[in-house]
């Protein structure tokens, strides 16, 4: 990791509830073929959009944070020639052409030593050195020079911080701590000092220094003024402090720490979020421990968390506007119970919701999944049968038949066929029926369904053709699958599968010809296709050719994983030490 990358999470995460479920409920999001109708689709799309938005926000922080950007006001102070030169360097920097960018920054420093941008150019030159893995040069000739020549520049505290970070990244903890201490002493209120403290927390964690870690985190959470760039590191510290206190079973203190970084309405879902409160994960870890006191801490934490969430549910249910938040918090209680291994309490939560608010598809879905997880498929199907969205409920029943061991394919397909009576949704359900046949080991029936789909749903013809070929491939009907793949256009997968099938049929020359076509048309697959050629030659008994090909891989692709495999094979199987190869990083 480059030392100047801003490693903090955005200060203001999206407060919208959909984000909250990401990664929390292992059994919550419906997987392929388990759609719960338009409602689910809409919710999923909304979540996706919000996640994408959040990622965009994060990505704006990552590459260009306060550690490697110059404020616009200072850009305005540059003369035109200076701006031209600095822009040229910045363009190369953005393109990750570190060597060229470093040269351009150096040129800037030679030409405009007293410019407003000189310190910034020196800083960026040092960043380039770090990216070129010349960390010692970055520290001594870059960041330290900046401190020596431009001690009063805005970049000086950043350089001090990055000296510490670079030392840390090359394993020198002592000088790193010294550098951090210098920054904290020289610029106590600068955001670099805040970042330095956060880095010291990381070092303390590595050194198992719990006392220092707790002290620094507490300081960053409660004492440091959050203003501008200092906000983000303090928010990160508050997450870490909350998680640290949760691990000791102290729910109240953790909650208090989280409250410093978000509003009350955001609290329930941030409590559950894996990078904020991470309550379910921590409960699971503590309860999974073999140490009895730790286990008790976990139970205590789960009870405290569930009780607090329940108060949020009660409060939010009073206002119809906040009912969605109340429901989400309610499901969170069940989630905490699940991670605590308290299956009965988890079920009781769902039953409580149904008793209080009446049955709805979402809660019934959770309850049904609980039955499935606890090996009561009949009760799960009965619950799915109560869905208001009948089609979705039936789809879930069919899926539950498919999930049984051995799968009850015919029952599932019968339901899918009934659902396919609706022309609008027929392709979806027929596709599910074909998949059920495939997984149930009935390829002919699956192919028949796909053929039916080709005639009824012309838009998806290509995908159905691939599905037919894949079905034959999975069924190891090599000759037929080769013919089927010829009619598909998902290159290079179809060629690789055809080659594999030819190998199974002992048609080695055809297989090699296909691999060669892949090599000619897809540069990304060259080394893997060459390795496949070598294996094919081995299967064909052409050991000399196989050795030649393996040597070719070592020679031309020594940096690839295939190069490693070829080298090992030559050594171990053929006892050939002269493998060719050799390269520099």
């Amino acid at each position: 990791m480059a030392p100047f990358a801003t490693t903090v999470t955005p200060a203001n995460p999206s407060p919208t509830p959909p984000l909250r479920r990401e990664g929390l409920h292992a059994d919550a999001p419906p997987f392929l073929g388990e759609g719960l109708g338009r409602g689910w689709l809409r919710r999923s799309l909304t979540r996706l959009a919000l996640v994408a938005l959040a990622l965009c926000v994060c990505s704006t922080f990552a590459p260009a944070g306060p550690l490697d950007e110059m404020p616009v006001e200072r850009w305005a102070k540059l003369k035109e020639a200076e701006r031209f030169q600095l822009n040229a360097a910045e363009r190369l920097y953005r393109e990750s052409q570190w060597k060229a960018a470093a040269d351009e920054y150096e040129k800037f420093l030679k030409l405009y030593e007293k410019s407003e941008g000189a310190a910034f150019a020196q800083l960026k030159w040092s960043h380039c050195q770090v990216n070129l893995r010349k960390q010692n040069a970055a520290i001594k000739d870059g960041y330290q020079s900046l401190l020596d020549y431009y001690p009063d520049s805005p970049e000086a505290p950043i350089a001090g911080l990055l000296i510490g970070r670079t030392y840390r990244d090359i394993g020198d903890a002592k000088p790193a701590k010294k550098a951090y201490a210098k920054v904290i002493a020289a610029h106590p209120k600068h955001f670099a000092a805040v970042m330095a403290r956060l880095d010291l927390v990381e070092l303390a964690a590595k050194e198992n220094d719990a006392e220092t870690r707790t002290r620094l985190l507490r300081e960053l959470t409660y004492d440091v003024e959050r203003k501008g760039a200092t906000t983000a590191p303090c928010v990160t510290a508050s997450h870490q402090y909350a998680q640290l206190t949760f691990r000791t079973g102290n729910f109240e203190e953790g909650l208090k720490a989280l409250a410093t970084s978000c509003s009350e309405s955001q609290m329930p879902h941030l409590l559950m979020h894996p990078s904020w409160g991470a309550l379910p994960t921590i409960v699971g870890e503590l309860i999974g421990s073999k140490d009895e006191p730790t286990k008790k801490n976990g139970e205590k934490l789960a009870d405290a968390g569930a009780a607090w969430l329940k108060t949020q549910v009660t409060a939010s249910l009073k206002d119809p506007k906040t009912k969605p938040q109340a429901m989400a918090a309610w499901y969170d209680i069940a989630e905490v119970r699940r991670h605590a291994g308290q299956a009965d309490k988890q079920k009781a939560v769902y039953e409580d919701i149904i008793a209080t608010l009446g049955p709805d598809d979402a809660t019934l879905g959770y309850l049904a999944r609980w039955y499935k997880a606890n090996k009561q498929p009949e009760l799960a199907r009965t619950t799915y049968g109560k869905f208001k969205d009948v089609a979705e409920g039936q789809g879930q029943i069919a899926l539950s038949y498919r999930e049984e061991t051995p799968p009850q394919t015919d029952k599932a397909v019968a339901i899918y066929r009934q659902l396919a009576a609706d022309v609008k949704t027929a392709p979806r359900w027929l596709g599910e029926a074909a998949m059920a046949y495939r997984k149930g080991g009935k390829p002919d029936l699956a192919i028949a369904v796909y053929r039916e789909l080709i005639t009824s749903d012309a838009k998806g013809t290509d995908a159905y053709a691939v599905a037919i070929a894949d079905t034959l491939y999975e069924a190891k009907r090599w000759k037929e699958c080769i013919a089927a793949y010829r009619g598909t256009n998902n290159f290079p997968t179809n060629y690789l599968h055809m080659a594999r099938a030819n190998r199974e049929l002992k048609q080695y020359d055809e297989a090699i010809a296909l691999y060669r076509q892949v090599i000619a048309a897809s540069p990304a697959h060259v080394s893997s296709a060459l390795l496949d050629i070598a294996y094919t030659q081995e299967e064909a008994g052409k050991k000399e050719d196989a050795i030649k090909t393996l040597k070719q891989i070592c020679d031309k692709h020594p940096k690839s994983p295939e190069g490693s495999k070829a080298h090992t094979r030559l050594n171990d199987v053929y006892k050939i030490p002269v493998t060719l190869g050799g390269a520099k990083d």
């Binding site: 020639a81 030679k110 010692n136 020549y149 020198d172 070592c554 050594n571 030490p577 520099k584």
Partner: protein, 487 residues
């Protein structure tokens, strides 16, 4: 033509001849452990055959002497193939009727041997005691326990005698085996790695470079801009950091040639001793490829290359590379451990808890350094990283391209490798500012072989230089530490 008969004296002669031949073969093939092992196995069988023969002969003689003769002797009735002797209570171990060939003693021995074996194996597994002694000790005890149990349950006195003899013989053989493999170290019981005395240095070495046509850079300057080519600030106002660049400044009395550090003559180290040598030691571990590229035509070439590149080191570099096990590594003197140990492998690296303790002690208390080399695409790479994380108590970091280990005595701007088994970045573990582990991800020692694995000579040369740099770094660090430890 007279036929050849096997007489006891002839068999004894052949047995003696076997021992001579076998030991000779072991001397000729020192790196073939299976020759020695197979020899021991055959020797055991020969000894056993002799034991059975002699026991049988003596027992028969005793029994024939004890058979009562005379006219008024009652006829002997055989029960289960055995006749009741009148000599119960004899003490001669060759006599099948000796009193201790009863079930009681067998059972007693079984219980105690079983207990001893289980305790020894448990201690070895938990790493409480020296595993290399406790493990075989436990095995022997359990084997003897089995023999004792069979003795206790045997119904025939001759069977009981034979089983007891086998157990006693096996125990004796095991003792001989251990005595033969006992290493007699220095009088203090520890080995010593002496550095060569002298006063070398690791200043950057001149390297041959190809002359390339260089296109000179020209700065494009805007003619309308106001450019000031200002003079740099007065030299006195600059706080110049004289650290790295002046690290090799000349000191009065400093030696002028060869690798090392110190103020003696020629190459060598200040803490060195006359007769001390730079050695290349590799660690023997459970991976079957631990000795890949070992010895002549392999890593020995690195030592030869060192002498070629630093002629003043001639006589101060070992001629052969060595392989040692964990126990031997732990047996070095506190302040005279090897500065560098090489660990290579393909499939696995799984030292026991006791072995890990030896490694930890070696790098922390004895200031040692480990050079790890991934020689194949197996699990060695990930195993090595996991073990080193545990042993060092820290995590690996990328080793900078401009780290002193890549700069002295040779500048190596890019990592050379044969094949990138574990990526193309060298990782290291640092403790107190010192590299304690250097992990090469791509078969470094393959390039040191005579055939250099068929790679380009330029890259193979770089691999040699990297090896020399690592050797130099480890020895310099160790020399400084040794000197700091001197009173």
């Amino acid at each position: 033509m007279p036929s050849f008969h096997l007489t006891p004296s002839r068999v004894a002669l052949l047995s003696g001849l076997y021992i001579v031949l076998w030991r000779g073969l072991v001397l000729v093939l020192p790196n073939e452990p299976y020759v020695a092992l197979a020899g021991w196995a055959v020797l055991y069988l020969i000894g056993l055959a002799w034991g059975i023969y002699l026991l049988e002969r003596t027992a028969k003689r005793i029994e024939s002497r004890a058979v009562p003769t005379g006219d008024n002797v009652r006829p002997q009735v055989s029960v289960s193939g055995e006749t009741v002797g009148g000599r119960r209570g004899a003490w001669n171990p060759f006599d099948p009727d000796a009193r201790y060939y009863g079930p009681g003693l067998g059972m007693f021995c079984f219980v105690w041997l079983c207990l001893g074996g289980v305790v020894a194996k448990t201690l070895a597994a938990s790493g409480v005691g020296p595993a290399e002694i406790l493990q075989p000790l436990g095995n022997v005890a359990l084997m003897l326990a089995t023999a004792a149990l069979a003795t206790a349950f045997a119904r025939n006195k001759r069977v009981r005698q034979s089983l007891s003899m086998i157990a006693a013989y096996s125990l004796l053989f095991a003792m001989v085996y251990f005595l033969a493999h006992l290493k007699f170290a220095s009088p203090s019981g520890e080995d010593e790695y002496a550095l060569p005395a002298g006063g070398g240095n690791d200043s950057p070495q001149a390297m041959s470079v190809k002359v390339q046509k260089v296109v000179r850079k020209r700065y494009v300057i805007n003619p309308y801009s106001s450019i000031t080519f200002a003079a740099p600030p007065p030299i006195d106002t600059i706080d110049v950091k004289l650290t790295d660049d002046t690290a090799n400044r000349y000191q009065v009395g400093m030696g002028d040639g060869g690798l090392g550090s110190g103020d003696g003559e020629g190459g060598g180290f200040g803490s060195g001793k006359d007769g001390g040598k730079i050695r290349f030691i590799r660690l023997r571990h459970s991976d079957k490829s631990w000795d890949k590229n070992f010895g002549i035509g392999g890593d020995r070439n690195l030592l030869a290359e060192l002498v070629v590149r630093f002629p003043k080191m001639n006589g101060k570099v070992a001629e052969e590379t060595e392989g040692i096990d964990f126990a031997a590594l732990g047996n070095f003197k506190q302040k005279a451990a090897p500065p560098l140990v090489y660990i290579g492998g393909v499939t696995t690296f799984a030292p026991s808890a006791a072995d890990k303790r030896v490694l930890k002690q070696y790098i922390t208390e004895r200031h040692g350094m480990i050079l790890g080399d991934t020689l194949g695409g197996g699990a060695f790479h990930s195993n090595f990283i996991a073990v080193m994380n545990e042993v060092t108590g820290t995590t690996r970091v990328e080793i900078p391209r401009d780290d002193p280990i890549h700069k002295r005595p040779y500048e190596i701007p890019q990592l050379p490798f044969v094949v990138a088994h574990g990526g193309s970045t060298p990782y290291g573990w640092k403790i107190d500012g010192r590299w304690v582990v250097y992990h090469h991800p791509g078969a470094l020692s393959d390039a040191w072989r005579d055939d250099r694995a068929g790679i380009k000579k330029v890259i193979a040369d770089q691999c040699y230089l990297l090896g020399i740099n690592i050797l130099s770094y480890a020895h310099r660090e160790h020399d400084q530490w040794r000197r700091s430890q001197q009173p």
